[in-house]
Symmetry: none
Subunit: 319 residues, 2 copies
Amino acid sequence: MAAAQNSGDAETHQAAKRLKTDETEAGNNGEKFISNFEVGRVLRDSTREKTIFVHGKIDDQEAIVILEKTPITEDVLPEMLKTSTQTLEMRNDIYSTYKLRPPPHLSGVKTTVICPATEKHVKKYLRQETFLIEETEQDYQSITLPYINSQSFSVQWVYNILEKKAEADRIVFEDPDPQDGFVLLPDFKWDQKQVDDLYLIAIVHRRDLKSLRDLTADQLPLLRNIREKGLEAIMKRYSVPASKLRVMLHYQPSYYHLHVHFISLDYDAPGCGVERAHLLADVIQNLQHQSVYYRKHTLTFPARADDTLLGKFREAGRL
Amino acid sequence: MAAAQNSGDAETHQAAKRLKTDETEAGNNGEKFISNFEVGRVLRDSTREKTIFVHGKIDDQEAIVILEKTPITEDVLPEMLKTSTQTLEMRNDIYSTYKLRPPPHLSGVKTTVICPATEKHVKKYLRQETFLIEETEQDYQSITLPYINSQSFSVQWVYNILEKKAEADRIVFEDPDPQDGFVLLPDFKWDQKQVDDLYLIAIVHRRDLKSLRDLTADQLPLLRNIREKGLEAIMKRYSVPASKLRVMLHYQPSYYHLHVHFISLDYDAPGCGVERAHLLADVIQNLQHQSVYYRKHTLTFPARADDTLLGKFREAGRL
């Protein structure tokens, strides 16, 4: 999820109200909204993942629309095979290929709308070349930290969640403790239809921890609490055990309010690569042995060519 | 495509003729054929790629049906947004998500049928479930090490490379030093046609290091040598700089003779996930600070359900 725009209380209230509208009304609102989208340019697409990221306008406001086809699940298979129209494309020996066209209720497209979208959102989704940066302790102090502070990324949408002003009905588990507590909820990437691509986020109640870099042994109770209670809640709600879950942090994170990803091991999700992900189990272990591990160590992370932070490293002659 | 059955000239001719049948006739053939498919079990699926591989029967013959949703292309976007039914699912601040249900002619599913299918086809497509194992120092000594020793995995093919008895013409770089030297050559996964999916392996000349678990600060000169000279050789031969390369080790490795992977950052290769990969830069750093880091720490790794080592952990009550 991107760094969201600020939104006043009035807007937040509206959003909360909208969450309570019934599906029919919501459907009507939605239809009008998306139908007004004027396609501009494709920012990125993936034929492998069946996704497309499009920049355009809705009623003269900048907007980004992200479309992703839904997975094919076992439960709809028999119906899909029986009710789709079918066209034979090729037959050779024991192999044949067809084009099926399932009825609409079996063909979902998960659609995310960001409106109004800023130039930052556009950059976030525009496909760009990626480079690895090795950030020393000094680099963090002299390049990354000033950059984070100067950008004043809004995490208002995170606060909306923590304060139950938005997405309150999506919360799977909460530990309300102000020091070691957190809220666990499904990531937008997950449609919650199947556990194969289970993806939840634990967002800490504390607002003073930006990222992995801020963690010391002082946060061990917080981190152990997230690990234990997060895993327990996921087992209870989804029957998915710890051995089927990557529990991890990103560095750099996409927003600077500490959060932990719980991702199905069967889901080859973006951001799980060794260049960006850190297993919570390893983080806990490293802090146990060296309280300043994440303050002192050089951390490697990937950055896109258009990333302002990469520009800062380049200016400093560090890339 | 699978290893196809042989097909005589006559059959091939028939297939070619069938390709010319008109769409209506083909459609009718196809409909009958796929509609008769009785779903057995799901061999594999990918929520990321929107694919599913199913084993079942068509008219009493073994069959495999592979379904894959078609990519979303720019040309159909405006029509898809205008003509789909839409349901609002969530709204928070500037973000909202919808489920679109496009009409059938915009919702293709590429379908491949293999019939009659053999046991080999089934095995080819069957995915084994994967589990995470947390291996403590004690687990390594009491479960993993005895398993490695008992299996006496042959690494003769590695020795053949090191002794120039095989693949000598593929070597990109060699440092012949018996203590800190290594051989660098392309992995078989890489066809060397383009650098986007560059993949090379550095294999050490020393024969006494099985994996990450064996490394201590004593091996820092070896590891630094691989990093420096490996990166230098890749820059010289392929003009790919360090900032475009993941340099990493696997744990568990697929063979127990120490080797390091050099993989293009643009290549989303299997095995680059945080659950199996360890950046060489991190390994060097960890050993600098704690010589016994990889001897003492609990290491997480993924194992397939049919993996003997997973069975050993299960027997020991560690999973």
